[in-house]
C-alpha cells in the first residue's frame, strides 16, 4: 500500500524536475520515474493491460529515444522556463476512454477475428527493421562488424 501512497507524489516531483533541470541529462533521467509511478497507479482502476503497455511504450521507447536525442547533438546546459504538467492526468483520461482492457478478451479477439491485420502488422515491423538498416548501413573498413556464423 505504501507504493500506491508514494507514487503520485513521486510522479509529480519527477515531472517538475524534468522541466526545471538545468542539465538535459538530468531531465532524461528524471523522466523515467514519471511513467513508472503513473503505471503503478493504473491497475487500481482495473486497467492491468494498460499499465504494462504504458511501461513498455513510455520507458522502453520514449525514454530511450530521448536519451539518444540528448546524446547526439552538442547540447548546452541552459535554463528553460515553461510549465507543462501533463503526465499525471494522462492515465486517468485514457482510463475513461476504454471500457474493457482485460488481457484475455483482447488476446481472443486479436488472434481470431483480427488475425490478418495482426499478421500484417508483424510483417510491417519486420520490413521496417530491415529497411531502417538497409537505408543507414555504412560498410567501411573502420567499422567493426560481428562475425555471426
Amino acid at each position: 500500500m505504501l507504493l500506491f501512497d508514494v507514487s503520485p507524489g513521486m510522479a509529480l516531483v519527477s515531472a517538475v524536475t524534468v522541466i526545471r533541470a538545468k542539465n538535459p541529462v538530468h531531465s532524461v533521467l528524471f523522466f523515467i520515474p514519471v511513467p513508472r509511478n503513473t503505471s503503478g497507479l493504473l491497475p487500481l482502476s482495473g486497467l492491468d493491460f494498460f499499465a504494462m503497455i504504458f511501461l513498455v511504450v513510455h520507458i522502453g521507447a520514449i525514454a530511450v529515444s530521448l536519451s539518444f536525442v540528448v546524446m547526439m547533438p552538442d547540447t548546452k546546459i541552459e535554463e528553460i522556463h515553461e510549465n507543462i504538467l501533463r503526465y499525471f492526468p494522462v492515465g486517468g483520461i485514457i482510463g475513461l476512454i476504454f471500457r474493457w482492457t482485460n488481457l484475455e478478451t483482447l488476446g481472443n479477439l486479436l488472434y481470431t477475428n483480427y488475425s490478418v491485420p495482426f499478421l500484417v502488422s508483424s510483417l510491417i515491423s519486420l520490413v521496417a527493421m530491415i529497411g531502417a538498416i538497409v537505408l543507414t548501413i555504412h560498410k567501411s573498413t573502420k567499422v567493426k562488424r560481428q562475425d555471426v556464423f
Binding site: Y111, Y114, V116, V120, S121, L123, I124, V127, I130, V134
Partner: protein, 501 residues
C-alpha cells in the same frame, strides 16, 4: 487446457486459410529470401530474384484457381471477382517489374538482397489491400504498401535525389494516412463502433448525420487522392518519380496506383451510395483537372521520367471517368480493362527506359535522338508502347480509351469525356515528339549515344545470356500485351463485366 480447446475451436470456425493462400505463399517467399540471403552471406543474389519470381508465379496459379469460387473470410476478406482481379493485377505488376530489375544485380554496388524483399512486401500490401473489407485491415495494408515503397524509393542512398524522393514519399504517405484515418474514425464513431464496412452501412443513419458523413467522405477522398496522385494532391509525383531509381518507379507507378484504385472504388461504392451526386461532382472535377494539368505540363518536360510521371497523372484522370461511369449491367468493366492495359503500357515504357539509362546514364529526352540506328529493338518496342499510351489504333491503348469514353458518354459525363478527348490529342503530341526524335537519323549523334553499347553491360563482361535477356523478355511481353490485348478485347471485357458489388 479448456481455454486452449475453446480457442482452437473458435479459430477453426472463423478462419479459412485457403482464401489467403496466395498471400501466404508470398509471405513464405519473403521469409525464404531473408533466410537465403543470411545463409549465403550476400553471394549469389540472382537466386533471390528467382525465388521471388517462382513465388509470384505460384501465387498467380492459385489465384486463377480461386477466381472460380467466391469465399468470404470472416469479417476481413471477400473473394469476389473484383477483388481477385485486383490481386491478379498486382501480381502481374510485381512479376514484370522484377523481371526488369534483374540486371540491376550486376551493375551496382548497393546491397541487393533486400530489393526483392521490399518488392514482395509492397506486393503483399497491395494484395491484402485489394481484398480488405475491414477498416483496420485497410489501414494496416495501406501502411505496409507505403512503407515498403518508401524504402524502395530511397534505395540508392548515395544519390541525393533518391534521398529527396524518399523523404517526399514518406511525408506524402504520412499525410494521406492521417487524413484517411480521420475519415475512418468519423465512420467508426457514427456507426456505433463497427469496423466492418458492411456493418457500417447498416448502422449509420444517413439522413440524420449527413453533414458528418460528408466531412468523412471529404477526408477519405483526400487520403485516397494522395495515393492516386489526382489534382491537387499530385505535387509529390514528379519529384518522387524523377528521384527514385527507374526500376522502382516502374514498380510503384503501377502497383500503388492499382491498389489505391481498388481502395477508392470499394470505399466510395460501399459507404457513400447516398452521396452519389455529391462525390460524383467532386471526383469529376478532380479528374478533369488532373487530365488537363497532367497533359499540359508533360508537354514541357525535358526528362523522360518526369514526363512519364505527368502522363501517369493524366492516365489516372481517365480511369476516374471509368469509376464514375459504373452502372448495373457493366459494372466496373471499363475501369478494369483500362487498368489492365495501362499496367502493360506503363511497365513496357519503363522497361525500355531502364536499360537505356543504365547504358548511357541519362534521362534527357534529347539524348534519345537517333536511337533507331544503334538499337532498333529497343526503339521499336518503345514506339509501340508510347503509341499505345497515346491511344493510337490498332494498339490496345486505343481500345481501352474507346471503351472508357464510350461508357462515360453513356453515363452522361459529357464534359469529362470531351476534356478527356481533347487532352488525349495533346498527349499524342508529346509521345510522338519522342518517337520522331528516336526515328530520325541525325548526322551528329549525341555524345552519349556514341558510346552506346548494345550487347555489353557497363561494369562486368561476364554475364550469362539468360540474365541479359530477362529485361528483353519483359520488354517483349509488355509489347505483345500492349498490341494484342487490344485486338483480343472481348474475353477481357467479358471477365470484367460482372464486377458490380
Amino acid at each position: 487446457m479448456n481455454d486452449i480447446n475453446s480457442f482452437l475451436s473458435r479459430l477453426n470456425s472463423t478462419i479459412n486459410f485457403s482464401t489467403i493462400l496466395p498471400e501466404i505463399i508470398l509471405i513464405v517467399g519473403l521469409i525464404t529470401i531473408v533466410i537465403t540471403d543470411l545463409v549465403n552471406k550476400g553471394k549469389n543474389a540472382i537466386f533471390l530474384y528467382k525465388i521471388f519470381l517462382i513465388s509470384t508465379l505460384v501465387s498467380m496459379g492459385i489465384l486463377f484457381y480461386q477466381l472460380i469460387s467466391v469465399i468470404a473470410f470472416e469479417d476481413l476478406y471477400t473473394n469476389n471477382i473484383f477483388n481477385n482481379l485486383f490481386r491478379f493485377f498486382i501480381l502481374i505488376c510485381s512479376f514484370i517489374s522484377v523481371l526488369l530489375s534483374v540486371d540491376y544485380v550486376l551493375c551496382s554496388k548497393i546491397s541487393l538482397a533486400e530489393f526483392p524483399l521490399f518488392k514482395i512486401s509492397a506486393g503483399l500490401g497491395g494484395m491484402i489491400l485489394s481484398c480488405a473489407t475491414n477498416l483496420i485491415t485497410i489501414y494496416v495494408s495501406l501502411e505496409f504498401l507505403a512503407l515498403s515503397s518508401c524504402f524502395l524509393s530511397g534505395y540508392t542512398k548515395r544519390d541525393i535525389r533518391s534521398n529527396e524522393a524518399s523523404m517526399k514519399f514518406l511525408l506524402m504517405s504520412g499525410a494521406s494516412s492521417s487524413s484517411l484515418l480521420y475519415g475512418f474514425s468519423l465512420l467508426y464513431g457514427f456507426s456505433d463502433g463497427q469496423v466492418q464496412l458492411d456493418n457500417i452501412i447498416d448502422k449509420i443513419s444517413f439522413s440524420q448525420y449527413l453533414p458528418i458523413i460528408c466531412i468523412s467522405a471529404a477526408f477519405i477522398l483526400a487520403g485516397t487522392a494522395f495515393k492516386l496522385s489526382l489534382f491537387p494532391f499530385h505535387q509529390w509525383t514528379p519529384d518522387v518519380y524523377e528521384g527514385s531509381p527507374t526500376r522502382v518507379v516502374a514498380f510503384f507507378s503501377v502497383t500503388s496506383k492499382v491498389a489505391a484504385l481498388s481502395l477508392f472504388t470499394r470505399l466510395f461504392r460501399l459507404i457513400f451510395p447516398y452521396l452519389s451526386n455529391e462525390w460524383h461532382i467532386v471526383v469529376e472535377l478532380l479528374a478533369i483537372s488532373s487530365m488537363i494539368l497532367g497533359n499540359l505540363i508533360a508537354v514541357t518536360q525535358r526528362s523522360f521520367k518526369r514526363m512519364l510521371a505527368y502522363s501517369s497523372i493524366s492516365q489516372i484522370g481517365y480511369v476516374m471517368i471509368g469509376i464514375l461511369a459504373a452502372d448495373l449491367e457493366n459494372g466496373y468493366a471499363s475501369m478494369l480493362t483500362y487498368t489492365f492495359i495501362y499496367i502493360f503500357m506503363n511497365l513496357g515504357t519503363f522497361a525500355r527506359i531502364t536499360p537505356f539509362s543504365l547504358r548511357t546514364g541519362t534521362n534527357n529526352i534529347r539524348d534519345y535522338a537517333g536511337l533507331y540506328m544503334k538499337d532498333p529493338v529497343l526503339t521499336f518496342s518503345l514506339v509501340l508502347c508510347l503509341l499505345s499510351l497515346g491511344g493510337i489504333p490498332p494498339l490496345s491503348g486505343f481500345f481501352g480509351k474507346h471503351y472508357l469514353f464510350w461508357h462515360g458518354w453513356k453515363a452522361g459525363l459529357y464534359i469529362s469525356v470531351t476534356v478527356a478527348l481533347v487532352t488525349s490529342v495533346i498527349s499524342i503530341y508529346y509521345y510522338l515528339k519522342i518517337i520522331k526524335l528516336m526515328l530520325t537519323k541525325t548526322t551528329n549523334l549525341v555524345d552519349t549515344l556514341k558510346t552506346y553499347e548494345k550487347q555489353k553491360s557497363l561494369v562486368s563482361s561476364v554475364i550469362s545470356t539468360k540474365l541479359k535477356s530477362s529485361v528483353e523478355m519483359a520488354m517483349i511481353l509488355c509489347a505483345l500485351a500492349s498490341t494484342l490485348s487490344g485486338l483480343f478485347m472481348d474475353p477481357i471485357i467479358k471477365i470484367t463485366r460482372n464486377t458490380f458489388f
